[in-house]
């Protein structure tokens, strides 16, 4: 920039000569210079503003474009970040206590159609009906040639069927990958596993959701991708479960029962080793829930936890053990069980109108005397009886980890009269589930601690609070053993396993009130070996009739006890329990000495 002097001589000298003031020239030049400087500064400032503006514009534009891209593109996992857990995002498997598969996933395909892409909709529909006879050809033709742009044809197809659909060769028939839940053992442990179905369905994937049993109870765990490689370990034992189901099914058929359930529980951990409810179903093709009729007749009904029954005399032992625990009686105290006995206006009778006379407490259990147990309960009193039953958990739904357990709410009288005290002492007037009964027997078996049944594998014993004294529990076990050796459950003797248990035969209540004459629930609650119980087994048959004799026999001693005995004979060796008597001598083996 050329700098013009403020007082250039070339102008000053003529101005002086003309008598003008050189100051004016200087002022003028100064003004010009200031204007130039101002213009220059303004230009620079404007330029800077422009640059800044452009910079901000691009910065915001970049952010905006990036946001737009993120919003419109498919989400992708970051490629370079650490991973490994995401290799398998499938629903976790379910295994038994020894790691054998109970439920897993299988890759399969779903078949869908996009009619606008179809070449020959009518031929495609005909081809599909040839492969899947259950489809309706007319409906397919209507769907394919109508306005629909998309429809699902089949939810699960096998590889062979997929190949056959490929062979139709229509570009409008497409396949979507699916993970389906597979229960390789079929109906085994069906009520525990429940079943699964598809939730939200997309073309690329569909979520698998549990609909019942542990599949629903542990749905969150099973669906968590972090648990993809960590199967859910159940306490069930596959072989024991299979043997128990087979024996119980045979028993149910022989005893002409319409339903049956059994629960086998570890007495120290509360682990349920096997739980069977018959009739059952195949969780691979779970039938729909019945909309009419009695829910309890459906194969979906889980009798072991949902079925609340009056379990009859099987509850007598709790009156006896409490009376012994409170010090009111000892097992050998004599109680008069002769009639008549009237409580609250009702007559308390014995089975088939018998009269046992004077019996010891132990014999009351062995002979299953109603009046004897009633008298014990009256000595205990309603309040203490309620407290004791509550501490054993009889007033709560079974806390078992399958979704159905919540619906098995026990029933007990709201007004606990003296009559209730007596009838409940021998198992009438209060309904509970076989699973709950098994847990209560486990308390006697493990020396008096409360245990909660669980379907999950446990690492160590999980004994709860003490509810029965050690000595009382021991004497109760001796009474239960005596029931088998010389009482109502004499068919329950299994050589080598010292079974102890109590029978229970309860008339079924009519829906409108009162009881059926010839419909009963027969229960046998057992523990083995009785001197040091490891397991508790409860077998309940619904409406059994044993018809080998002159007249039909329905009592538990004739129906559920032989079934339970057969079951113990089958499963105790599988559980690794060695019989404690001499094994049967084997032929062709001679003991020799080598000297």
């Amino acid at each position: 920039m050329t700098r013009i002097p403020l007082r250039p001589l070339a102008r000053i000298l003529p101005a002086r000569a003309a008598g003008q003031s050189p100051e004016d020239i200087e002022r003028e030049n100064r003004t010009v210079r200031h204007e130039e400087m101002r213009d220059h500064a303004r230009q620079r400032a404007e330029g800077r503003l422009l640059v800044l503006g452009v910079f901000f514009f691009f910065a915001f534009a970049v952010v905006g474009v990036r946001m737009g891209l993120l919003a419109t593109s498919e989400p992708v996992e970051p490629r370079a970040s650490a991973r490994g857990a995401a290799i398998s995002a499938a629903r976790a498997d379910i295994v038994d206590r020894k790691g054998r598969l109970l439920a897993t996933n299988l890759e399969t395909r779903a078949l869908y159609a996009q009619p606008p892409l179809m070449v020959d909709p009518i031929a495609a529909a005909r081809g599909l009906v040839a492969i899947f006879p259950e489809l309706d050809e007319k409906k397919l033709v209507k769907d394919f040639s109508g306005k629909r742009k998309f429809l699902w044809v089949k939810k699960k197809i096998s590889p062979e069927q997929m190949q056959a659909v490929h062979d139709i060769g229509d570009p409008g028939l497409l396949f979507a990958p699916r993970e389906m839940r597979l229960y390789p053992n079929g109906s085994l442990a069906a009520h525990v596993l429940g079943g699964a179905s598809f939730g939200k369905e997309g073309v690329h994937a569909a979520e698998v959701i549990g609909v019942a049993g542990v599949e629903k109870y542990f749905d969150d765990y099973l669906r968590d991708p972090a648990n993809g490689q960590k199967p859910l370990e159940l306490s069930l034992d596959l072989t024991v479960q299979a043997a128990a189901e087979r024996v119980l099914y045979g028993g149910m058929k022989i005893m002409n029962a319409k339903g049956a359930t059994s629960v086998l529980m570890d007495v120290r951990t509360g682990e349920v080793i096997s739980v069977v409810s018959l009739p059952d179903f195949d969780p691979n093709t779970r039938p729909p829930a019945p909309v009419t009729g009695d829910q309890s007749d459906s194969p979906l009904f889980n009798r072991s936890v949902q079925g609340v029954y009056e379990l009859g005399s099987a509850l007598k032992i709790f009156a006896a053990v409490q009376a012994v625990d409170l010090g009111i009686v000892t097992p050998s105290t004599m109680i008069d069980t002769s009639g008549p006995m009237r409580v609250g206006g009702a007559n308390i009778g014995e089975f088939q109108g018998k009269n046992y006379g004077k019996l010891s407490v132990s014999d009351i259990i062995v002979k299953s005397s109603n009046r004897g147990t009633g008298r014990l309960a009256l000595q205990i009193g309603a309040e203490r009886q309620q407290e004791f039953l509550k501490s054993l958990g009889f007033f709560e739904p079974t806390p078992f980890e399958i979704i159905e357990a919540r619906s098995g709410k026990p029933l007990w009288p709201k007004r606990w009269t003296e009559l209730s005290t007596v009838t409940i002492s021998y198992g009438h007037g209060m309904s509970t589930s076989p699973m709950r009964l098994a847990a209560a027997y486990a308390s006697i078996a493990n020396g008096g601690y409360r245990v909660e049944p669980t379907i999950l594998k446990q690492d160590s014993a999980s004994l709860g609070e003490r509810v029965i004294g050690e000595a009382a529990a021991k004497s109760a076990r001796e009474m239960l053993r005596a029931v088998v050796t010389r009482g109502t459950a004499s068919m329950g003797e299994v050589p080598g396993y010292a079974v102890g248990g109590k029978t229970g035969t309860a008339d079924k209540p009519k829906p409108g009130g009162g009881y059926y004459e010839d419909k009963i629930i027969a229960t046998f609650a057992a523990m083995f070996p009785a001197y040091d119980p490891k397991y508790v087994l409860v077998v309940t048959l619904d409406e059994p009739v044993e018809t080998s004799g002159d007249k039909p026999r329905r009592t538990a001693g004739w129906t559920s006890v032989p079934v339970a005995a057969e079951m113990i004979g089958r499963i105790a060796p599988l559980l690794g329990l060695r019989p404690t008597v001499e094994p049967v001598p084997l032929a062709d083996i001679t003991l020799t000495r080598s000297n």
Partner: protein, 119 residues
């Protein structure tokens, strides 16, 4: 001096750019390699899952029971019962080996008329 500095700086920028370029491509190659490995692992897991499912299906108790029934003649399999537990002392000791019959010494005979027996 300054121009040397400029040249060196320019060269180092070119060098770094080249290095970054190569690193970028190397990274992308490793990423696609890991992607492929991961997809291989996924395929292997899927196959493993199918094999496990098939194993479980073929070993389901119903099928094994039926097979045991069908092949009862050759296998004679029965459900495990309590009398099948044995004790260690029921197992026989191995039979003592027979002594070799060699260099046998005759220990019996008949006495002659002129021989007499000594204790």
């Amino acid at each position: 001096m300054r121009s040397v500095l400029y040249v060196l700086t320019t060269l180092s920028v070119i060098g770094l750019a080249f290095w970054a370029y190569r690193e970028n491509y190397a990274t992308q190659e490793s990423l696609s390699k890991t992607d492929k490995l991961y997809s291989d692992i996924r395929t292997a897991y899927a196959r493993l899952a199918i094999l496990k499912a098939e194993w479980a299906y073929l070993n389901r108790p119903d099928r094994l029971r039926d097979l045991a029934d069908i092949n009862f003649d050759s296998l004679g399999l029965l459900p495990l019962r309590s009398d099948q537990f044995g004790r260690v002392d029921e197992v026989a000791y191995p039979a003592a080996p027979l002594l070799d019959i060699a260099n046998s010494i005759e220990v019996s005979g008949t006495l002659g008329d002129d021989e007499e027996q000594f204790p």
